[in-house]
């Protein structure tokens, strides 16, 4: 036991001594959460729009008031002629312009129909589409309020509920994603680097020639990063609950349990990497290219897996982060319990066992 404690103590000395690794370990999760949470959001909130109201009657003023009242839009520009619209788009002052035709109210009243023009800045097609949809929805709302006074012969109206994420928040998707990325990066990369460093420094030989059991060596390397990773999980969850208003709907113990399992997966991958190489640079490179890249592309966090070509979909099954992502999404957001995610947990546990056995076997061989 004393052997284990002195080893863990030494590992923490290394970690706290090296400011760079300290920065990666503790500042990276916070930075990523804030970047994804506030900067990289594709949510529509208080988007600046412009209005060209050619009618200026009761109906048009009501519609404009309704647009302004919605939290998606903020009317920043009011135009008097079409040329100003173009200028505002070019100066990047607005993302959407709404043109109301002359005689809006009388058209509505006499022809029972009127046309409104929406102009969107489609340099970013996704945002443009979203803005168009939101604006149409506000206009439809307005239409419904007028129609309330009349009885229509036929009408089919859709009633939409966005389940589990009623506000369509991006945070619901990226929090599990960031969690997966951070845990993988820190546990796998930092562990492999710290083992490989011992080889580079030749201290590994001394350790191997000492009575220290290989199992204790591996545990002493794993435990510090396990502790740090669990601290990071807590930080990420804390940020998401307090700053991003993302509640944890399922059991928090299940979330931590799954994180614990995934950290073990990452640690065993780190151990595997440290078996392949003797250089810290290679270990870092393999961790980034071999682990981070598949995580970004194939975990479903950035790009939906269902939309990928079949071979990629099949390939995504061997990416551990994909399963972690599914489980955490289900537990945190849908509030599902163990009975609903046990299959995914089993797959992840199976992968972990597989990696552990392989790296343990290889590690024993290196001792020979």
């Amino acid at each position: 036991m004393q052997q284990f404690w002195v080893f863990v103590r030494k590992e923490f000395y290394h970690i706290f001594r090296d400011k760079k690794s300290l920065l990666i370990i503790f500042a990276l999760p916070i930075a990523q959460m804030l970047i994804f949470g506030f900067a990289l959001t594709n949510e529509i909130k208080n988007t600046q729009i412009g209005i060209l109201d050619n009618a200026n009657d009761e109906a048009s003023l009501n519609l404009i008031a309704q647009l302004d009242a919605s939290k998606y839009f903020e009317i920043s520009n009011t135009f008097t002629n079409p040329d100003e619209i173009d200028a505002a788009f070019k100066a990047d002052k607005i993302k959407l312009a709404i043109v109301i035709p002359p005689n809006f109210k009388s058209e509505l009243a006499h022809n029972n129909s009127a046309r409104i023009q929406l102009l969107a800045d489609a340099t970013d097609p996704n945002t443009a589409t979203t803005l168009e949809v939101y604006a149409s929805a506000v206009i439809r709302d307005y239409q419904n309020t007028i129609n309330n006074n009349f009885k229509l012969p036929y009408s089919i109206s859709t009633e939409i509920r966005m389940l589990y994420n009623p506000q369509l928040k991006g945070a619901y998707l990226f929090v599990p994603g960031v969690m997966g990325m951070i845990l993988l990066l820190i546990s796998a990369m930092m562990t492999s680097i710290s083992i490989v460093r011992e080889k580079e420094l030749n201290t590994m030989e001394i350790i191997l020639a000492s009575p220290l059991k290989p199992m204790i060596l591996i545990l002493s390397k794993a435990v510090p990063y396990m502790v740090i990773s669990l601290i990071n999980v807590s930080t990420i969850l804390l940020i998401s609950v307090t700053l991003l208003d993302l509640p944890i709907n399922g059991s928090i113990w299940l979330v931590f349990g799954v994180c614990f399992l995934f950290i073990t997966t990452a640690l065993s991958l780190g151990l595997m990497i440290s078996n392949i190489t003797d250089s810290q640079q290679t270990a870092m490179f393999i961790s980034l290219m071999g682990l981070m890249l598949p995580t970004l592309i194939l975990s479903g966090f950035m790009f939906p897996i269902e939309n990928m070509p079949v071979p990629m979909q099949v390939l995504s099954n061997i990416v551990p982060t994909k399963w972690f992502f599914i489980i955490i999404k289900d537990v945190m957001i849908k509030g599902l319990g163990f009975s609903s995610v046990w299959r995914e947990i089993l797959i992840l546990a199976g992968m972990t066992a597989f990696f552990l056995i392989i790296s343990w076997k290889k590690f024993k061989m290196r001792l020979a």
């Binding site: 004393q2 052997q3 404690w5 002195v6 080893f7 103590r9 030494k10 000395y13 290394h14 001594r17 090296d18 420094l201 030749n202 201290t203 030989e205 001394i206 350790i207 191997l208 020639a209 000492s210 009575p211 220290l212 001792l367 020979a368």
Partner: protein, 247 residues
């Protein structure tokens, strides 16, 4: 015999087609300083790594401290100390933490570590430097510290792999005083070196050429046998027949 602490018989290590150590047989007596000489690539380090359990032999037999190297490696590891070529300390952590760590992995208890580290710091005149990072110490001090850590658990045998590489003759001389101290306390010293003047400090030496032991005896007997003035001449004579070049 009980007073032979290392016995090897036809010990061989092959890496693929390459035979690094080719059937060496020798023994080391308890309490002696045994010099293991050879050019770079002659197989010294490989032979040593088999004895300390880092590499498994391809064939042959060996006993270290009375234990078989195939079956009883765990007991061997409890009886030996090892200092590697690039005397290995953690440069980025303080002296005292290095002592704690190596004391710990060699199986000392917390109380023993406390007692030993105080004595060790005192002996090496490092008491004031216990919180200094190892990287700030001069090379000679690092080597002394590394050696002291290799014997902190009072092993029966200490293996030193080219311990004095890269330091000046005066520092080397001082380092050998530490080796003598250890030997006087009954530790058997197994040391590889390619400095021929150091061979004279050993009780017995073996000279390896191309994975085989080409000569083995006391320095005096060898000089007589080869009719040479010093070990260097013998070494040059033997090495001339070598086919391997340094790696």
């Amino acid at each position: 015999m009980a007073d032979k602490v290392i016995i090897t018989e036809n010990l061989t290590k092959k890496f693929g087609d390459f035979t690094a150590v080719d059937g060496i047989s020798f023994h080391v007596n308890k309490g002696e300083i045994f010099g293991f000489l050879g050019a770079n690539g002659a197989g010294k380090t490989t032979a040593m790594k088999m004895l300390i359990g880092i590499w498994e032999p391809t064939s042959g037999k060996a006993e270290v401290a009375g234990y078989d190297i195939y079956r009883d490696m765990e007991n061997i590891k409890k009886s030996i100390g090892y200092m590697s070529q690039r005397f290995s300390l953690y440069e980025d952590i303080p002296v005292i933490e290095n002592i704690r760590f190596f004391g710990g992995i060699y199986g000392l208890s917390r109380a023993e570590i406390k007692e030993k580290s105080a004595a060790l710091l005192h002996k090496l005149n490092l008491t004031g430097e216990s919180k200094t990072l190892v990287s700030a110490l001069p090379l000679g001090w690092k080597q002394k510290l590394a050696f002291s850590l290799a014997i902190i658990h009072q092993p029966k045998i200490v293996f030193l792999d080219e311990p004095t590489g890269g330091v000046d003759p005066i520092t080397r001389r001082k380092f050998w005083e530490l080796i003598y101290d250890a030997a006087n306390e009954g530790v058997t010293v197994f040391v590889t070196t390619h400095y021929m003047d150091e061979a004279e400090y050993c009780d017995r030496i073996s000279i390896m050429v191309d994975g085989r032991i080409a000569a083995l005896d006391t320095p005096a007997a060898l000089k007589k046998q080869f009719n040479a003035d010093n070990i260097d001449q013998i070494f040059t004579h033997l090495a001339r027949g070598a086919k391997r070049t340094a790696d």
